[in-house]
């Protein structure tokens, strides 16, 4: 047998009897719950979407930077070097005019540099260059002696960037081998010493076209400059956004006092600069995008924080109104229950129990309504469907939160009607007979 002696039984019977009142209350809580959960879902989707955008753009940026880095490296490889270290007393105007230094420094400088642990230069190339009259051919050329690259000992060994010229060999620039009709394998005389042509360069459109490269030691002997060089080419400088030419210059002159550092290979540096600028710009754009998304999020949050209390208030008032209507309709019932000896607390439980059920039902459905509307609004606002991305535990927690919050809302809204019902004097009600 069903027991009307149970308050919950009576609550359920009353709900079944006054379905419309209950449904309207539940709908109201549903709307409030949906609005709240929907706002949370929309903001959550916004955050996820922002995350996706940032990740995507970040990836593209990294790819682009990697491509640029590769491009810069290739450019540097083609150009052969980035900077030239010259004796400090070298007049730059003279150097630019001649294309080589007329002052000298000890060859040992290059070894000192290689052992110094400088981290921003990978290879060093000591050279001795001088314009000479090629007595055998009766023409002016630039004779360049080079020892081949000296790896930076603080770095892991790498493939040489410029091949050394073996002793007894000579490499000829384009104009020289073309005009003298020389080819690889030919033996020629230079300042009374025989050299075998090991390589003929293609046209470069620069001073290189009239340059002949031989081993440094042989050049020092031919030019009468034993143990001296007039330039060190610093190869494959690490042209990162963190490294400036000023820093490079500062480091090198710190190791080799009495030298100066000249930038060469400006194309590579320009590319590095471009890359650096692009990276800075792209990161700034990314940051700006992030800030825009943040501003948008704040705007949405502000809107939600304005709208949600309004919706909650409206729904609460509506529930309170329905509660008052319900209490009014149940005056007779309350009167007779009180006449039987039912206490005010029990009457309060009859009403609050109903609001609790209203809250649970509204909160439960409101949770799913909010999730659905959140996804839908997320679609409208972000232009694509996104999952809210909550784990099962978080979903359950949010569901419980929605149910608890909705029950609290319904309970608070129904508190006054319930209290009024409790305080109704049964004598007043029954006197009306």
């Amino acid at each position: 047998m069903r027991s009307p002696g149970s308050i919950w039984r009576m609550i359920i019977d009353e709900i079944r009897f006054r379905k419309m009142n209950f449904i309207l209350s539940v709908v109201s809580v549903f709307i409030a719950g949906s609005a709240l959960i929907g706002a949370i879902a929309v903001l959550r989707i916004h955050d996820r979407f922002t995350g996706f955008i940032m990740e995507e753009k970040g990836k593209k940026l990294e790819e682009r930077l990697a491509a640029l880095e590769d491009d810069t490296r290739k450019a540097m490889l083609e150009l052969g070097f980035n900077i030239v270290i010259l004796p400090d007393e070298q007049e730059l105007s003279d150097w630019y005019e001649k294309g080589y230094s007329s002052e000298y420094m000890p060859e040992g400088y290059v070894d000192r540099l290689a052992r110094s642990g400088i981290i921003i230069v990978r290879h060093f190339l000591p050279t001795l260059q001088q314009k000479i009259e090629w007595p055998e051919k009766k023409r002016k050329i630039i004779l360049a002696g080079t020892r081949g690259e000296v790896p930076n000992l603080s770095k892991s060994p790498r493939e040489p960037l410029v091949e050394p010229v073996p002793e007894g060999s000579i490499i000829l620039g384009y104009e020289l081998h073309r005009s003298l009709d020389l080819q690889e394998g030919n033996v020629l005389q230079l300042m009374g010493r025989p050299f075998e042509v090991s390589e003929c360069y293609t046209e470069r459109g620069s001073q290189d076209d009239i340059t002949a490269w031989i081993h440094l030691k042989e050049a020092q002997e031919l030019l009468g400059k034993p143990g001296l060089i007039n330039a060190i080419l610093a190869l494959e400088c690490v042209c990162d956004e963190d490294v400036s030419l000023a820093r490079l210059r500062e480091e090198i002159t710190g190791i080799l006092p009495g030298t100066k550092v000249i930038e060469k290979g400006s194309q590579a540096l320009a590319r590095a600069e471009t890359r650096r600028n692009l990276a800075v710009e792209a990161r700034a754009t990314l940051e700006a995008e992030k800030q825009n998304r943040e501003i948008l999020r704040n705007a949405r949050e502000d809107f939600a924080s304005f709208l949600i209390p309004l919706v909650l208030l409206a729904c609460g008032l509506w529930i309170a109104f329905l509660g008052l209507m319900n209490a009014r309709a149940r005056q007779e019932e309350i009167g007779i229950l009180r006449a039987f000896g039912v206490s005010g607390k029990q009457v309060l439980k009859l009403f609050l129990g109903k609001y609790l059920l209203t809250g649970i039902a509204g909160g439960f459905f409101g949770f799913f309504g909010g999730m659905s509307s959140g996804i839908l609004f997320g679609r409208i606002l972000e232009g694509q469907f996104l999952r809210i991305g909550l784990g099962p535990g978080q979903m359950v927690f949010l569901l419980l939160l929605a149910v608890a919050g909705a029950s609290l809302l319904a309970g608070l809204a129904g508190w006054i009607p319930a209290l009024l019902a409790t305080r109704q004097d049964p004598a007043d009600i029954l006197h009306a007979d």
């Binding site: 009307p4 009576m10 009897f17 007779e332 229950l337 039987f340 007979d433």
Partner: protein, 229 residues
């Protein structure tokens, strides 16, 4: 069982005061069926509510089983009322969403005790409601509703029934049935205090007192009906 001594009750209304009860005294013992007769507005319902511990009098004393309910705390009053008094009203006041059966057992809510199905079945049989026990009040006839209300009043096996115009909405046949039930209740040792303007009630009461303008009419030897309509 129930004693009212020099009860006064005044209501303050817009245009002044209404003296609903003036120096009302009566006593009600087991086996008595006391009918208070009087016209509408003479204070009958007020008297019943005061007797039922629902309306505190302005003066005088109410004793229910020797206790003054108006000097007890609310929990005690509720318990006392629940255990001692059964109410029957003209408007029945059945709970609309409970079936006749559940209405009958609804006083169990006050006592906090589980419903006694045997007691409910007994009352349903006693009042001839077997066929209608599962119906909601709006599905019952007026006579069935009042019988349900009476059965509900008897559920806790009270010593006293307070009835306020219980036949006001009933036809003659159903009114007669109700009076017979009340008379039987009194004959079984219970006490009935019935207030009504219905002349027929006098035929069933063991004692009849007239009431007019908040005062009980006194007659020789006992309180007797004033005979007014």
């Amino acid at each position: 069982m129930l004693v009212l001594r020099n009860i006064n009750k005044t209501f303050h209304v817009k245009n002044g005061m209404v003296k609903a009860l003036q120096d009302v005294s009566l006593s009600l013992s087991g086996g008595e069926f006391l009918v208070i007769r009087g016209p509408s507005g003479c204070g009958k319902t007020t008297l019943l509510l005061v007797a039922g511990c629902l309306l505190k009098p302005g003066g005088g004393q109410v004793l229910l089983n020797g206790m003054d309910p108006y000097n007890l705390d609310m929990d005690h009053v509720n318990r006392l009322r629940s255990e001692t008094i059964g109410f029957v009203f003209q408007q029945f006041h059945l709970i609309p969403y409970l079936s006749a059966r559940d209405n009958i057992s609804s006083p169990a809510l006050a006592s906090g005790n589980p419903v006694m199905p045997g007691r409910v079945d007994e009352l349903i049989r006693h009042f001839g409601l077997e066929e209608r026990a599962g119906h909601l009040p709006h599905q019952l006839s007026t006579g069935e509703r009042q019988r349900t209300a009476l059965a509900r009043a008897l559920y806790n096996d009270p010593g006293i029934i307070l009835a306020d115009e219980p036949t006001g909405n009933l036809d003659e046949e159903n009114a007669e049935i109700l009076y017979k039930y009340l008379r039987q209740f009194a004959a079984d040792g219970g006490s009935v205090l019935l207030v009504s303007h219905d002349r027929r009630a006098c035929d069933y009461g063991t004692r009849v007192i007239g009431m007019s303008q908040g005062r009980l009419q006194r007659s020789t030897g006992s309180y007797v009906g004033a005979g007014s309509g």
